[in-house]
């Protein structure tokens, strides 16, 4: 097997062969696969324990004896965790938990420097050097605003799931689950299994839309079976499944007491006069996931617009980004779920090995072919899923002028419309400059999609002059103390 000169460089503690950012399903699969093939890997993750958002588990001592009961595919995770532990013990993987990478920087010699904050207070700094970079940065939940969504008792669907997985706390006793996307079914099931009553699951799209791509469904019988299984389980748990409906208002003085559910048309415009109240003490709402692209954008990776309305890292078959030396896997390359993330993580690691050594052993090559086939099949399904659940253009009609769109800066839909109609804003950046929408704590992660859609309705997606109309740029992927930045300054 020919080895590149690069690999013959002595292993040194200061520069890993591969840095993997994110220890969710994709990052874990990538790190252990790369280590299996003899690469020295550094694995950075913002969480204390590996698993990411998906395999989130309670901290020890909370008395959860069967964390796997809340997860799908727990044995896979258990196996990956065991391999991670073995590689960590042998020194093949340096696992850096509680390391939040705030930027990646290319050094003069082509190596990557990953700048992270760590420590209990996030006030320690850490810099890691690696020859190659694999981004498995995952996703965050996509939200759409609606009247009343700021009332206590309204929680994000993924947040409700996370609360269950990590602390086993329920956001209420009688919880309506609403929004769009397959996550809602899983969330509703978890909530009922944890003892809550879920009177209704409100889905803005129609599941029937999946039938428009019969070949994709036929190629993914497992996905169909899962949908049917979830549907049956939900019906069994007394959850009414209402499609082509949306929560258009929330009632209650100090917290949620009821929600109004209205019919929506194909474009998600609420149909007047169809509103019906459902009593509840909590609402778990989500509209799918959006890739976390800060580091990919910082590294200069190209992005693409996806069928679900989000942006994702542009990848080739080998999971290479447009920047040499940078790979990505999992949700960062487009929302696709845990099975795809595991597949892509492994495939990306094999791709790294292939590029380093000019090839891989026969068994690994066969494995890569099988993974490629799975990836193609799963990506086709996720594209279909994204298109089915992409918010229809009419969703903004359920907003009133005083509905807050950006909660951090308290910017209402009315102010955003004024910025567009009277001041000529037609893109996210200009709306942000004129209203401060997206300038607060979450840096637009919550409101970014909604603001973009509201602005696009006026400017038809034109770029803001200097910046092309791509994903939001956040050069700092997380807040960093001034003193931490100052420590990096070279003496003048």
């Amino acid at each position: 097997m020919p080895h590149s000169t690069d690999e013959r460089r002595p292993r040194d503690a200061d520069c890993a062969g591969l840095a993997v950012v994110g220890a969710g399903p994709a990052g874990l699969a990538a790190a252990v696969t790369a280590a299996d093939h003899g690469l020295d890997v550094v694995l950075l993750d913002s969480a204390v324990t590996p698993g990411g958002q998906y395999y989130r588990s309670p901290p020890g001592g909370l008395g959860a004896t069967r964390p796997g009961a809340l997860h799908h595919g727990w044995p896979v995770f258990a196996e990956l965790s065991a391999r991670l532990a073995a590689h960590r013990d042998s020194g093949a993987i340096r696992h850096l938990p509680n390391h939040q990478v705030w930027t990646v920087e290319r050094a003069g010699d082509g190596d990557w420097i990953l700048h992270a904050v760590t420590g209990a207070e996030g006030d320690q700094r850490s810099a890691v050097r690696a020859r190659r970079l694999l981004l498995a940065t995952g996703a965050h939940e996509r939200q759409l605003p609606f009247p009343g969504w700021t009332l206590p008792g309204v929680v994000s669907a993924a947040g409700a799931q996370a609360m269950l997985k990590s602390g086993l706390v329920l956001p209420g006793r009688r919880i309506v689950v609403a929004g769009s996307g397959p996550l809602l079914q899983a969330v509703a099931l978890s909530l009922t299994r944890a003892g809550a009553s879920v009177p209704a699951l409100i889905e803005a799209s129609g599941y029937g839309a999946y039938a428009r791509a019969p070949q994709v469904l036929a190629a993914n019988p497992g996905k169909m079976a899962e949908g049917v299984r979830h549907g049956a389980a939900l019906t069994g748990a007394g959850v009414r499944m209402l499609t082509r409906r949306a929560v258009t208002d929330v009632h209650g003085d100090d917290r949620v007491e009821a929600v109004t559910v209205s019919r929506v048309d194909r474009r998600w415009r609420p149909v007047p006069g169809t509103g019906r109240e459902i009593a509840c003490d909590a609402l778990a709402v989500g509209h799918g996931l959006a890739p976390q692209l800060e580091l990919a954008v910082a590294a200069g990776c190209g992005t693409r617009a996806c069928a679900d309305g989000t942006h994702a890292v542009t990848l080739d078959q080998q999971l290479r980004t447009t920047v040499p030396g940078v790979w990505a896997a999992g949700e960062a390359g487009g929302i696709g779920g845990v099975e795809l993330a595991l597949c892509e993580g492994e495939l990306a690691a094999l791709s790294v090995i292939r590029e380093m050594r000019g090839g891989v052993q026969r068994a690994a090559a066969r494995r890569a072919v099988a993974l490629l086939r799975s990836r193609r099949r799963l990506r086709a399904f996720s594209t279909l899923m994204g298109a089915v659940h992409r918010p229809g253009a009419g969703w903004s009609e359920w907003l009133t002028g005083d509905t807050e769109v950006c909660r951090c800066e308290e910017v209402t839909a009315g102010r955003i419309r004024t910025a567009c109609e009277e001041f000529g804003a037609g893109d996210t950046r200009t709306v942000k400059l004129l209203t401060r929408a997206g300038m607060g704590w979450c840096q637009g992660r919550t409101c970014g999609f909604a603001v973009r859609e509201l602005a696009d309705a006026h400017g038809s997606g034109r770029g803001a002059g200097e910046e092309p109309d791509g994903p939001d740029r956040r050069p700092l992927a997380c807040p960093v103390r001034l003193s931490t930045l100052a420590d990096l300054a070279e003496p003048a």
Binding site: H115, E409, G424, Q443, P475, L476, L482, L485
Partner: protein, 386 residues
């Protein structure tokens, strides 16, 4: 049928907006085109400084003093809040040596009509309680002010719209229309043609490209700057505070990275930290060395900021001309072409005076100050053959 246009302004940044405001107010029929939205280029990346303190006596200072009084008028005339605040500037010197230089500068500025007051070392913290101890002294410039630049540009354009100006965002100019004799007759955009006998180049950092479309050279280059934005804080910093070295960095011609601390609070809470300067083309990658130096210098000036979290960082490209003066006025090489660009880091401050000069020049009125030093063809060696 729309009224025929008198003027097409290319660029909806603050300079283009001010040109549109003064031109439409003097009765001209105006259209503003921009490939993006309002304030999409350098205006949106600016801190909104209206400074006289950082300028040495000369044509730029005259322009800045005129602008300072125009901004004061505008803050009363414009119908919505542009966060105008005469907060004053405080320039601080760390060493006796730089204090001496600062005091000499201030003396010459006073001769040119700038208000500048010496602040002794022991009084600095009366002005700014959180300043580091042991600074040598400083100078207070009460005329320095601030606006929120994107709001200011948008409001100027809205007001121009009320006088009949048309705003055409999302339209990229792809060519300048010319008569057979060379005079301009409008612009061609990706979508349409806008015909007018006057075209104003207010394309900022991209002004050189627009000049090239008209066949003339205007050497505008991007000079990148980063700004750090902290989490929202109660008002800790009252003035725009910067180090005396800032003035020499501004006037330097070097392409290498220069940083000098410029720190100020904002009405919304976050503290803004600048200012870096480097000529690296339109490179949009975050420079860790640049922001690290900004952070270190800001923390040295205001130790209280050390534990504060930086929420975001952004960059902008200042439109730089080799002599640090803007190009304002008609281009003798192309009849009907006017330039209003190349203001480097002072575009927000200099915008109203620029707009007024342009409107007067188009209308053939006597200029309020000598526009000679801003002649757009001053870099064109081929024009000055004797």
């Amino acid at each position: 049928m729309r009224q025929p246009l008198d003027v097409v302004i290319v660029g909806a940044g603050v300079v283009g907006a001010a040109c549109a405001y003064y031109a439409s107010r003097s009765g001209l029929s105006v259209a503003v085109v921009d490939r993006g939205s309002v304030a999409g280029g350098t205006t949106g990346a600016g801190e909104g400084n209206l400074l006289v303190s950082d300028k040495l006596p000369g044509p730029e200072l005259e322009l800045a003093l005129l602008s300072a009084s125009l901004w004061r008028e505008l803050s009363e005339e414009l119908s919505s809040d542009i966060e105008y605040e005469i907060k004053g500037g405080l320039v601080v010197a760390a060493s006796e040596e730089s204090l001496t230089t600062l005091s000499t500068t201030a003396a010459t500025q006073r001769g040119a009509g700038v208000e500048a007051y010496h602040v002794t070392s022991d009084r600095l913290r009366d002005a700014e309680p959180h300043l580091a101890p042991h600074l040598a002294g400083g100078c207070h410039y009460p005329q320095d002010a601030q606006v929120q630049p994107a709001l200011a540009a948008a409001e100027l354009l809205r007001e121009a719209g009320r006088s009949g100006a048309r705003l055409c965002p999302g339209e990229e100019v792809v060519g300048i229309l010319r008569h057979r004799d060379g005079a301009v007759r409008g612009v061609r955009t990706a979508r349409s043609e806008l015909r007018a006998p006057v075209v104003v180049n207010a394309a900022g950092t991209w002004g050189g490209d627009l000049a090239a479309m008209a066949g003339v050279d205007l050497p505008v280059l991007p000079r990148r700057g980063f700004v750090l934005v902290t989490e929202p804080l109660p008002r800790l910093i009252r003035h725009k505070v910067y180090a005396a070295e800032y003035v020499s960095d501004v006037s330097s011609g070097s392409a290498a990275l220069q940083t000098s601390p410029v720190v100020e609070g904002t009405p919304s809470g976050p503290v803004l930290i600048g200012a870096s300067r480097e000529r690296v083309g339109f490179d949009r990658t975050l420079s860790v060395p640049a922001i690290a130096r900004l952070a270190a210098q800001a923390a040295a000036l205001f130790p209280v900021l050390a534990d504060v979290r930086v929420m975001r960082a952004y960059h902008g490209f200042r439109p730089y001309l080799p002599d640090h003066l803007p190009a304002i006025g008609p281009d003798p090489r192309v009849p009907g072409l006017f330039h209003a660009c190349g203001h480097e880091g002072a575009g927000i401050g200099l915008a109203p005076a620029t707009g007024l000069l342009i409107a007067d020049a188009i209308a053939g009125r006597q200029p309020v100050l000598d526009p000679g030093p801003f002649a757009p063809d001053r870099f064109d060696t081929t024009c000055h053959v004797t």
